[in-house]
Amino acid sequence: MSTREECAQNFPDDPTVPDSVALLRRIPPWHFHLDHNLAVRRPSSASFADGRDGDPMSVYRRDIIEAERGDVQRVMIGHEGYALATLTAGQVRSRSQTVFPAPLPDESSHAKVCGPKPDGVRRWFAKQAVWVTPPRCT
């Protein structure tokens, strides 16, 4: 898990990314389910974890995609059955995360969300996330 200090050093927050920016996260089919208490299909808290070896969680910036006149569905290419959820930069920052732009050769909108993600933070992300591309009914 990335500490705040490690994130500040290696993945510092970019203040030029407004709090209103939507951060897109692909959700695999194993990670969404019907929450009977909320009467909605929503992602599991397991969807919002850092990667292997503590690599910070990857997201895609919607503002970059739209500035390039692109379609957010481009981040879904090759991922049949996945859904796409979004949190805002302000939401993740409110839980002690940094938003660090990390463009990839094939995806300029790629960014990292760095910070400690204990169970409670991941649960909060899962309940705050909004679908951009909801899961298909099965």
Partner: protein
């Protein structure tokens, strides 16, 4: 008399899997340490028949589980175990990012825990893989949220909440087995 159930890959129903996976059981390719028997602890009185043996074996892409118990097993338990076994077929990177394959020892820990928690009438939890090879068990029903985090057999935690009142409980499993069992009973409406 012991009941034995074998569960295989997702393309089979429970009944079919019980038949089709049996020939694989004699051709284990997993190290012995992953096919060891799992013994149910006595910390919580199990509502379902006690497990006598859990064996998970893999042959190529096929994963099967053999379970022996002291009596008939609840359907929700069988459904949940099928979900756990399916996760063992996930390759590295299964979440499109950098997720690890699910560790067999975590699957065994999940099955042991399910056997302790699920009685007749208990709804099956959602079985969820985690990025670092663990398993989450989740209930979000009857006004109760429960999430159990199995990061390793030694690191199991749970969170429970009554949605209406906001009453919450967040504890490691060790030493709090009875508390978790009571929360799961509330999911069952008991």
């Amino acid at each position: 008399m012991a009941d034995a159930v074998s569960l295989g890959n997702a393309q089979y129903s429970l009944a079919e899997a019980a038949i089709l996976s049996e020939p694989w059981l004699s051709t284990s390719t997993l190290p012995d340490e992953l096919a060891r028997p799992a013994v149910v602890t006595e910390a919580v009185q199990p509502p379902a028949p006690a497990l006598r043996k859990v064996l998970i074996r893999k042959r190529g892409p096929h994963v099967s589980a053999e379970i022996q118990a002291g009596g008939p097993l609840p359907r929700s338990f069988l459904k949940s175990v099928e979900g756990v076994v399916e996760l063992l077929s996930l390759p590295a990177g299964w979440n499109s990012y950098s997720a690890e394959p699910i560790a067999p020892q975590n699957a065994i820990a999940a099955i042991r825990l399910l056997a302790e928690l699920l009685g007749p009438g208990t709804p099956a939890p959602v079985v969820v893989p985690t990025v670092r090879g663990g398993i989450q068990l989740e209930w979000h029903t009857n006004g109760i949220d429960i999430e159990i985090y199995i990061d390793s057999p030694e690191d199991i935690r749970f969170f429970a909440e009554e949605v209406g009142s906001g009453q919450t409980c967040e504890e490691p499993l060790a030493g709090h087995e009875h508390t978790l069992k009571l929360w799961v009973q509330r999911v069952s409406g008991k």
